[in-house]
Amino acid sequence: MPLLPVSLEKGRIRPASDLIRDDENTFCILLPPTLIAIRGALAEVMGVLDPNSLGSEERGTIELVLAEVLNNIVLHAYDGDTTDGLISLKLTLARNGLQFTIRDDGGPMPPGELPLGRVADPNKGTMAQPEHGFGWFIIRAVARDIAYIRAGGQNTLTFRIVARPLSLDH
């Protein structure tokens, strides 16, 4: 039983603006695995989050974490900017925050624990600062209950972002 109202069918690409809403508390979009499509998807998701019940700082954090997760998928699960593939993003409003389910049909994550990520170290010099790895640090710093499953040729990442109760602006 797929979690989404539309199954992930290889090669079937819908623009980020093609929205599927199965109920008032859920919002889904499909996007091709390109960096440019991520920009559109972020705008769509942020567009349904009611600005009156969510502060600008919270909105910025949500947008950032989603960008990091989607960038990782496009750059690592798909090795760059292919349009051969499909990413689905499902957002559900829960009492304890925003629950995200992000699924793709790209390559698997490396086995073992999810990456810890890297962060700047003020005790080290300029040349010792990391240029990569900030993404997973950000995801882990903000998201809760992060879980990853590889099954049936699909990756599924689920996580929650704590936010005040709000409604989706449909």
Binding site: A67, A120, T126, F137, V142
Partner: protein
């Protein structure tokens, strides 16, 4: 990516004229910065006041540029919007780089030092 650069009081001030430094723009940003800073002297002030959003790829690109310029040229930042400043705080980059509220303050701080 459009960069507007200008030499002011011995500093090369570069304004990023783009709304995002994200994964889709990071490579372009690095290439444009390398070209724009070829003749940089001691100090480059990167004006981010027109940048609305940055992600880890954009942040990594700024670190790459900072390392590329070091040790002869120092990269400093100015004019971070609230959303961009939050990313620097979250990744502790704000404690590694020199960040000024505005380009004017960046230039004034150099005047005080010298």
């Amino acid at each position: 990516m459009q960069l507007l650069s200008e030499s002011i009081d011995g500093a090369l001030v570069i304004c990023v004229d783009a709304p995002r430094i994200d994964a889709a723009a990071a490579v372009q940003f690095k290439d444009a910065m390398r070209a724009a800073t070829q003749d940089a002297q001691h100090r480059v002030v990167l004006d981010l006041s027109k940048v609305d959003a940055i992600d880890s790829s954009g942040l990594g690109a700024i670190v790459t540029v900072m390392k590329h310029l070091a040790p002869d040229t120092r990269l400093e930042l100015a004019g971070l919007t609230e959303k961009v400043a939050a990313v620097f705080r979250l990744t502790r980059m704000h404690s590694v780089m020199t960040i000024h509220d505005t380009v004017d303050q960046a230039l004034a701080s150099a005047a005080r030092v010298s």
